[in-house]
Every structure is written in C-alpha cells, then in structure tokens.
C-alpha cells in the first residue's frame, strides 16, 4: 500500500506525468480511457486545486500578475512548498517569502502578498474582547507611563516599500492593476465585528503603535519614539492616535506595570 500511495502521490504532483507503461502496470483502462488518461484526471485536478486555493488567499496578487504568470508561480511554489497540513488554509503561508526569493525585483508584488497573507491571518484569529472607549482616559495620571495596552490578537502591523494598500484597493474596486511607484507606506490590519479592516497609518503613528504592539509600556514607547524621531510625540498627536485606535478596536486590555 505504501509503495502504491507513494508512487501515485508523486505521479499526481510531479510536473511531468510518469511513463504510460509504468501507469499501465498499476492502473486498469476503462472502456473509454487509457490508464495514463485516467491518472491525468487526478493530475489536472491537483493543479487546479492548488491554484484555486492560492487564488482565494492571494486574489490581488493573481490579478496583478495575470492568469498565465500566476499559474506558473503557483506551480513552482507548490513544488517547493507542498502542503503538509490537513487544511489548505496553510498552503500559502510561505507564498510571499517565495515571491521575495524567486522574484526579487518584484517588491510591490511582495508587499501585496504580505498584505494579503496578513488579511487571511487576521480573518482566522481568535476573537478578543475590547476595552471601553473611555478606558484609557480612566487610567490615573500617575499610572499612564507604566500603562501597557494589550492589542487584540487579530492585529497585524505592516510597513511597505510600495503603496500596497492602494494597490489592493484598486483590486477591490475592479480597477486596472499596475505596479505603482515606490513609496513607503504603513498599515494596520485588524478585525472588527468579524470583518477584516485596513487602517492606513503615517510613519510616526505606525512607530508608536508598533512599540505598543511589541509590549512596551506607554512611557517606554515614548522614550524609544523620541530617540527615533528626535523628540517625543506631541500630546495632541498621542491623544488623536489613541482615540482612533481605541475606536477601531485595536486593544483588548490595559495592564499597569508593577500592579
């Protein structure tokens, strides 16, 4: 059994079919199909299944590349990264990295793939309860510096070399997909009421949110921020950021260090 299954699996996933006489030793003909034609049904379905699965997770990448190039990229990818999970949901985990390795000049495509991977991860993350809109304001003044905001699990922060979110939006709007000019951008991807949301950020806000997401207290985050930007964030900036992030539902708890 093991030998037959190993042979058949390899025959299905390999780029080229096995010799017809090899197939005929193991598989019977039907009244209409030769053994290798019967095996080809499984080979064809495997290729279609892999492509469909990755197109579900990476629809904008597929649109930017076009059918022909996406088809070839998928088949090269699954040769290098065959599924080892019981679920197809994990098939595309290494897809963006594969693009970076095999298409190093397609940085916009790589950014777009990272964005779409983050969206699928956020879609499936565990739900987290949210802090109240006034919870931060209720923290005593003497505890604010040692306050740690715990992010929801369904949050990913991404920095890009290209405007990946704009590109993704063009896909959503069914507009022509073209590789954009290089321009650094920052994005928070999160889930609210079971919907995946994309929140564009400017560089200073991204830096602060990334520090908090990494587990820094507000005091430590401000100190680190100041070292990167030649000064701490303005108070009105901080106020606006936390108001927006809390309203967006990015935090699940407030912890006070030392309590």
């Amino acid at each position: 059994m093991r030998e037959l299954q190993t042979w058949m699996h390899d025959a299905i996933v390999a780029p080229l079919p096995p010799p017809a006489d090899d197939v005929a030793r193991r598989i019977l003909p039907s009244r209409t199909l030769a053994p290798n034609e019967r095996l080809d049904i499984y080979r064809d379905m495997y290729a279609i299944r892999m492509e469909e699965a990755l197109e579900v997770d990476y629809p904008a990448v597929a649109a930017l590349l076009g059918h022909h190039d996406f088809h070839h990229l998928v088949h090269a990818y699954v040769q290098r990264h065959p599924s080892t999970s019981y679920t197809l949901n994990r098939l595309g985990d290494a897809f963006s990295q594969f693009i970076a390795e095999t298409m190093p000049r397609r940085r916009a495509l790589y950014d777009l793939a990272r964005l779409e991977l983050a969206m699928t991860q956020v879609f499936d993350e565990e739900e987290s309860p949210l802090i109240d809109a006034n919870a931060i304001a209720a923290v005593p003044a003497e505890s604010v510096a040692s306050m740690r905001l715990v992010p929801i699990r369904a949050l990913r922060l991404l920095s890009f070399d290209y405007p990946a979110n704009d590109l993704f939006q063009r896909f959503r709007d069914d507009e022509p997909m073209r590789t954009p000019r290089r321009k650094p951008t920052w994005l928070a991807i999160h889930r609210r009421d079971y919907s995946v949301m994309r929140l564009p950020l400017e560089s200073r806000a991204f830096a602060m949110l990334e520090l908090i997401h990494g587990g820094a207290t507000l005091g430590a985050a401000v100190v680190e921020f100041a070292s990167r930007f030649d000064g701490p964030p303005r108070q009105d900036e901080l106020f606006a950021w936390f108001r927006d992030w809390t309203a967006a539902g990015l935090f699940t708890a407030i912890e006070i260090e030392g309590t």
């Binding site: 037959l4 039907s30 009244r31 019967r38 080892t84 019981y86």
Partner: protein
C-alpha cells in the same frame, strides 16, 4: 433506523459561506446542516461565530476530508483532537469522512484518492476506523468515494469492500448516491447492484449532488442540479433503506440559497413519494 441510533434529521443542506447571511437572517426551514469540518477547526473568526449560531438553531453534522482513513501515514491525532472538540462544541449529531487516502510522507494532495480493493487494504482500513471511532467515542460514518481509476491489484468490488468495512469496523455509512452513479459510469458497474449490497442497518446519511459529464468520464464536481438518473437511484435507496437523513451538496458555482433549497425540497418530495407508495 440505523443500528447506532443516529436520528433521521430529514433533508439537510451543506453549510456554505455564501449562504451564511441568508440562513442567519431568514432561518429557512431546513432540517439540518452539514458543515465541512476543516473550515471550522482553526478559526476564531466569522466561520466559527456563524457555525455556533447555526448550531443553536439547527442540528449540525460534521463532514471531513482529512482523516485519510486509507492512508499509510500515522493517523493525525492533533486533527482528531480538534475535530472531537468541535463536535462537542456544536453538538454534532455524527462525524463523517471518506473512504480514501489524502497524502503520503507528510505531504497532502488535498484530494480524496482511491484505494485498491483487496484484503490487506481492507484490514488496514478496518483497524484505522476502529481506532478513530474509539478516539472520537462514537461510531464514525464513512462515505463511499467517487473515483476515476481502478487498480490492477484490486480483488473485490467496491461495494463488497465497503459492506465488509462497515460490518467489521462497526461503523456507519454515508451513502453518496451521486458518487455511486459517477463511479458506475467511470468503472462500468451496475449502480443498483451497489445499493443492494449495502448493509441497511448501517446507512446513517445519504448525499446527493450534481456532477460534470465529460463523455468519456464523469467528474464529481458538486455543481449543478442532481440529474434524473441520480434521483432515480435516490428513490431506489429510499425504498431500500427507508427514511434516511439526506443532504444536497453544491460546492462549485454555488447559486442563490433558494436554488439549493429547491433541490432539497425535491429530495424531500422523492422521499415522501417513496414512503407513501410503501404505505399504500
């Protein structure tokens, strides 16, 4: 009634993402829903939320594609643990999977791959079904496959293999009438002989579906309406097995909910007609 006491839930439908809003919003009079296990095992997002809501309102059955009952890799107990927990959470009435293998050496083709029907393969499947049923603490329900190849080493018919598997592993059967039709066409056997050979007291569920006929072979695509010949086989199955929980699968080019629901109502009518004739 099957020997396991699994209830007749009437006519059900496959739970599909595109129909979530319709089902939650309109609460259609469907007898039960069959959820694809793998879609709900590793998510804390909307699919899990919707399944929990639906399980509050309808009986739910879990139908999987990843047990690899005929596989030669070790059973995946991480998968089975998650499946068992999900079944408990949604009060699944039973758990089913396919007579097939899905991959080898840790690699998964994500297909329901066919087995040779011979004595060593039968013994192998019996042992694995018993282990799985013991682990899940309930009799597993096995679905007959659709297939496109026959192996030279096969020594018995598919229906003999399945009947013996069910009896010797003490499991239930999910009789996919469309799969019987598809395989009968592809392998030139008599679909009625297949149905007649099934052990009546082990039939827990019936599947119906559309398929794609390429002339030289049929692919089990689960798309389009159930064809007349499959309805006819379904009527035969109803006559032979009585009222069995029946479910319509529609997985590709999925239409509006009402179209799929109409197919379920057609199944209900067939079932009812057979019952009335039997009682007359």
């Amino acid at each position: 009634m099957n020997r396991f006491g699994y209830p007749d839930l009437g006519i059900g439908l496959g739970l599909r993402t595109t129909h979530y809003s319709n089902i939650l919003g309109n609460r259609p009079p469907v007898g039960w829903f069959e959820a694809l296990s793998e879609n709900y095992l590793d998510t804390g997002g909307r699919p899990a939320f919707v399944l929990d809501k639906i399980a509050e309102q309808y009986p739910v059955v879990l139908h999987g594609v990843s047990m690899s009952i005929g596989g030669t890799d070790p059973l995946d107990f991480d998968y089975l643990r998650k499946l068992k927990a999900l079944a408990k959470r949604v009060n699944a009435r039973w758990i089913s999977d396919h007579l097939c293998w899905t991959g080898v050496a840790g690699r998964n083709a994500h297909d329901l791959l066919p087995l040779p029907y011979d004595e060593p393969t039968l013994r192998h499947c019996i042992e694995r079904v018993r282990i799985i049923s013991d682990f899940l603490e309930q009799p597993l329900v096995i679905e007959n496959p659709s297939s496109y190849v026959e192996f030279a080493q096969t020594t018995m018919s598919e229906w003999e293999f399945i009947a013996r598997l069910a009896n010797e592993a003490d499991c239930g059967l999910l009789l996919d009438v469309n799969n019987i039709y598809v395989s009968a066409f592809n392998h030139s056997f008599d679909a009625n002989e297949y149905i007649d050979a099934m052990p009546e007291d082990r039939i827990v569920q019936i599947h119906l579906a559309g398929h794609t006929n390429h002339g030289t072979h049929i692919i089990d695509t689960h798309t389009g309406h159930v064809i007349d010949e499959v309805w006819s086989l379904y009527a035969d199955a109803c006559r032979r097995f009585g009222d069995v929980s029946t479910m319509v699968e529609w997985d590709a080019d999925i239409p509006e909910f009402d179209v799929v629901f109409a197919e379920a109502l057609k199944a209900a009518a067939y079932r009812s007609d057979v019952r009335e004739v039997a009682c007359a």
